[in-house]
């Protein structure tokens, strides 16, 4: 079932989010949320304010999978708590704010916070529900814990599932630009017009420059190498396949929500700012946050080594292409794509299975990560200018 929000958007979950605006208020936020079903916690640990982090928190708070929000801050941190509250209120959903200084410390804030959460949960229970159709959904794709099977099984199968979704008239989104190195020609070829082609080239060039400056090309060493991936070009060639074959409608920035149906490439690489500021995809949770900020209702997540994580705000449908991994971690994985490696199922067949699972999850079925209580988040410092309409962004 879908939940109809005040601003007309439709969501597939009905969470109350408790948002902390500095590390110092995070334990209180966790204690406020503890034990309640459908209440999650996320936030930003820094005390220096960061416009990007504020924008990201607002986008997650405004997301249609969220029914209501409680912000828990200290009162002395850099992030402007009232501004965050206003930004989220624009979506029409109820927002409550508690500041530990004003409440009078840990115990008093936890007390007030739990009462606030109960009243927000009551509000959530009365949100109107209606059937949801696939064309209403925005789906994201991401890979994590990749190995040599990822480009042969899980990623192409997810690419098929994404293509199926695009045919319904829904929206799709991918990011991880650092792991599309060498795939320029393929991506540019799918741009719907020359302007979008130029934006794709700019985003990829920026990613290359960022990588050369930080001396880090995505994450290739370590377990990826043990899993058979030797170079960033190889990892990119495999990762590219999860984006399917649909034309690319536009390139968007983090926390930019597209309005027209189609497939979007999200540039999550920091913008040039004296020194490059911030990391792109320092871990998978940061990547999920990017996709959620663009409005993704759910994310198809491929893994070779086997990831156990989930995400705040959106359900992850996890697809594993390594048959050895699936045997050990099936409790954490939603779809076994290792059958492709074993020659038991075709990519097309698994792609269809993945898409059917996504629709079922959209209609309320819990994913493995949700069942196990995985609700990770990672919001950290970055500089990236907000959405720009020109090509390319200057």
């Amino acid at each position: 079932m879908g939940y109809r929000r005040e601003n007309g958007e439709i969501g597939i979950r009905n969470y109350v989010e408790v948002i902390y605006t500095v590390l110092c208020s995070s334990k209180v936020a966790q204690d406020i949320a503890a034990g309640y079903k459908n209440v999650q916690v996320f936030g930003f640990p820094g005390c220096y304010e960061n416009e990007y982090a504020l924008r990201l928190m607002a986008a997650l708070g405004k997301h249609p999978n969220v029914a209501a929000v409680l912000i828990v801050g200290m009162g002395c941190e850099g992030t402007e708590i009232n501004l965050l509250g206003q930004m989220i209120s624009e979506s029409g959903k109820p927002v409550k704010i508690l500041k530990i200084h004003e409440c009078g410390g840990t115990a008093a804030t936890i007390n007030s916070g739990r009462r606030a959460v109960e009243s927000l949960l009551d509000y959530a229970r009365h949100v109107p529900q209606e059937p949801i159709s696939p064309s209403n959904l925005i789906l994201g794709v991401k890979c994590g814990g990749s190995d040599g099977t990822s480009g042969l099984a899980a990623n192409p199968a997810v690419g098929r599932a994404l293509d199926l979704h695009m045919e319904t008239g829904g929206m799709g989104m991918f990011e991880e630009i650092l792991e599309l190195m060498g795939c320029d020609a393929f991506l540019v070829d799918r741009a719907i017009n020359e302007m979008v082609a130029g934006k794709i080239r700019s985003a990829l060039d920026k990613a290359k420059k960022w990588s050369l400056r930080t001396k880090q090309f995505g994450i290739v060493a370590g377990s990826y190498r043990d899993g058979g991936l030797t170079t960033i070009e190889e990892k990119s060639a495999g990762g590219y396949l999860k984006t399917g074959t649909h034309p690319i409608r536009d390139v968007i920035k983090v926390a930019e929500k597209p309005s027209e149906s189609g497939l979007y490439m999200m540039d999550s690489v920091p913008d040039d700012f004296d020194v490059i500021f911030g990391y792109s995809n320092p871990n998978d949770s940061e990547g999920f946050g990017n996709l959620v900020s663009g409005g993704c209702h759910a994310i198809m997540f491929t893994t070779g080594w086997g990831s156990v994580i989930g995400s705040v705000v959106v359900p992850l449908v996890k697809v594993c292409g390594n048959p050895k991994t699936y045997k050990k971690l099936s409790e954490d994985i939603d779809i076994d794509a290792g059958t492709i490696i074993e020659g038991k199922e075709t990519i097309d067949h698994v792609g269809l299975k993945i898409y059917e699972k996504v629709i079922s999850v959209a209609r309320g079925e819990r994913t493995k990560a949700e069942t196990l209580g995985h609700e990770e988040h990672y919001i950290f410092y970055k500089y990236q200018s907000p959405a720009c309409k020109e090509n390319p962004c200057s």
Binding site: D147, G148, T149, G151, L152, M181, G182, C183, K208, S211, K215, Q216, F217, V220, A221, R225, G227, G228, L229, T230, T231, I232, E233, E234, A237, G238, L241, G304, N322, K324, I341, E342, G343
Partner: protein, 100 residues
């Protein structure tokens, strides 16, 4: 049990092991119209690459129809292809094998 490796694109000069492959075993290369058989000269774990053409040092390694790096040594058919003989053309910082 058959040892199998998958060739993604007809222009590829490596295939990816779909099973763990022992040194000295015959590997069936699937993916092309014609089935090729290659003798594995190394142990090649599931997910890792085996050379299915001879590749000269400095030449491109091609997988999924794309260049994924350059050979740092001459590579015979049947050899394991990984950090010891394949280097990225883009990433100059982290492509050094620990064995160098």
């Amino acid at each position: 049990m058959d040892q199998i490796a998958f060739k993604v694109n007809q222009n590829d000069n490596v295939a990816t092991a779909l099973t763990d492959i022992g040194a000295g075993q015959t590997v069936i290369i699937r993916g092309d119209r014609e089935i090729q058989k290659v003798l594995a000269k190394n142990e090649i774990p599931l997910g890792h690459k085996i050379a299915i053409h001879r590749i000269r040092a400095g030449g491109d390694i091609t997988k999924s129809g794309l260049p994924i790096g350059r050979a740092t040594k001459d590579i015979e058919i049947g050899l394991w292809v990984h950090v010891h003989n394949l280097a990225s053309k883009i990433d100059i910082a982290t492509d050094r094998s620990d064995n160098d």
